[in-house]
């Protein structure tokens, strides 16, 4: 098959897919000028994992390839894509390269967030050489976006405990490894964040993008950011604040004061809710209607990506789930919090059985 005929085929298959899988319309606009309306897509946690040489774990490759293909079919098209972190499993050059090669098929500009799996081998050096700074901000159609590296930790843990980057990465890569260390944004970045936000008017909608939740859910699996309260305090003066995060491989949403929190699904594999681990207490937001318990017989079950509508200045997240019915978590103007548009008051058995 030549390149051009392959493209034609994908386009044809895409039309069929689009009819079946992707929502036809997006939420109506609120901004004064129609040209200011926009959506963006959010892909996260692909965990591209090298077996050896050119061999990578097929399952995880497929998850990302599928998300990229679906994302390219969006109509209307997203203005850009956010990648939520953990492109690689062990942060190696071959893994990052392979992940970026798959991502290169995306038709949109992509902003990357650093995940711990991208970072702890070489402290983000290779990632940064390919993708640029680990934290920055930008403005888009009246919304201020902030990208943070929220997976830093104590210097002593990072620099003084390990014989090699591989060893350090191996420990941090184990979600439940008791020798890991809590994530944090850290002093330096918080100083930068304060300065950055000082320049922004308080009625500008904010979207803050981090890998770990900027709220404390369960420390044992780093569904956690150690300095979450300090960051929340910096976000408090703004009228409309949205925090979007990856890392948790599951649907979570919450409202703390003026801050709405939404998580992203992984393209690689789903995680159980920490509340299903009975030996330890956790704080899964009460507001969250859980995703369906994963059925291992379907490889892509409970994985997916999301597209996000910020037209009202509050984030509405549409979860595009490969093997499940789509979910929409939208900001309710009435209740002033994110809510599932279908399941908030009426859950189904797979959302409760863990």
């Amino acid at each position: 098959m030549t390149d051009s005929s392959r493209r034609t085929f994908i386009k044809g298959a895409g039309t069929l897919l689009a009819g079946g899988l992707l929502p036809v319309s997006l939420v109506e606009l609120v901004f004064a000028k129609t040209s200011d309306n926009f959506t963006f897509a959010y892909i996260s946690d692909s965990h591209i994992q090298q077996i050896s040489g050119n061999e990578f774990v097929r399952n995880f490759d497929r998850g990302l390839i599928r998300a990229v293909a679906e994302c390219n079919l969006m109509d209307p098209k997203p203005d850009f894509v956010i990648y939520g972190g953990d492109l690689a499993q062990l942060g190696s050059k071959p893994e990052i390269d392979h992940g970026l090669e798959i991502m290169s098929a995306l038709n949109y500009k992509t902003h990357y967030v650093m995940g711990e799996h991208d970072y702890y081998l070489d402290l983000g050096e290779y990632w940064e050489s390919q993708l640029g700074p680990q934290h920055y901000s930008f403005d888009h159609k009246g919304v201020h976006f902030v990208i943070l590296n929220s997976i830093l930790t104590y210097d002593d843990w990072t620099h003084n405990r390990w014989s090699s980057g591989e060893e350090r990465m191996g420990v941090m890569a184990g979600l439940d490894n008791p020798n890991g260390s809590p994530f944090m944004v850290g002093d330096a970045q918080r100083v930068w964040l304060k300065k950055d936000l000082d320049k922004v008017s308080k009625d500008t909608p904010l979207v803050v993008l981090s890998h770990s939740p900027l709220q404390k859910i369960y420390k044992g699996w780093n569904f956690w950011t150690e300095d979450a309260e300090q960051i929340q305090a910096l976000l408090k003066p703004f009228n409309k604040v949205n925090v979007l995060y990856g890392h948790v491989h599951q649907i979570q949403y919450n409202q703390i004061g003026n801050i709405s929190f939404n998580s992203a699904m992984a393209t690689a594999w789903p995680w159980p809710y920490p509340s299903s681990f009975l030996k330890s207490a956790s704080h899964v937001p009460k507001l969250t209607v859980k995703m369906n318990r994963a059925d291992p017989f379907f490889e892509r079950d409970a994985t997916g990506w999301q597209f996000i509508d910020v037209n009202s200045g509050n984030v509405d997240v549409q979860y595009s789930l490969t093997d499940n019915k789509p979910r929409t978590v939208a900001f309710s103007d009435k209740k002033k919090q994110p809510q599932d548009t279908q399941y908030q008051d009426k859950t189904i058995p797979p959302q409760e059985h863990y």
């Binding site: 965990h47 994992q49 090298q50 077996i51 774990v57 097929r58 399952n59 184990g174 979600l175 439940d176 044992g220 699996w221 594999w269 789903p270 995680w271 159980p272 920490p274 299903s276 681990f277 009975l278 030996k279 330890s280 318990r293 994963a294 291992p296 017989f297 490889e299 058995p349 059985h353 863990y354």
Partner: protein, 144 residues
Amino acid sequence: MKAHAIKNMRTSHYAISTLLLVSIALFAVTLQADDFTDQDLKDWQAAYESVVKEGRAAFTDPDLGNNGVVCAQCHPNGANTHPETYPKFQKQLGRVAALWEMVNWCILNPLEGEPLEAGSQRMIALQAYIHDERRGAALEPGKH
């Protein structure tokens, strides 16, 4: 000593030995059934814990399967394995299945490896670890 006397003595010796053996056996059975010591409890717990530890090692071993993926990647602390619900009906298998069969399913599929023997030390260790992490869950065989 005369031959018959020797024979009698042997017989009586045999009888006494038998009696002794029987009583020792009886006594020993009694001991095994009811009496164990704190040391026994410690030893048995230690034996169990060492197998749980082996299970955790297998659960995080990139060589359990063939592609480097480990069980704990999807199941941190063994979560979402719900061992307390087995045996239960698996609709994809069309029958009631045991936990070890699902462990092998995972080794075959996401881990792209070869299944373990049901009674192998590694399979027992994996199940010990999975059950141990789920300590406290009420037994609910058949539950989905």
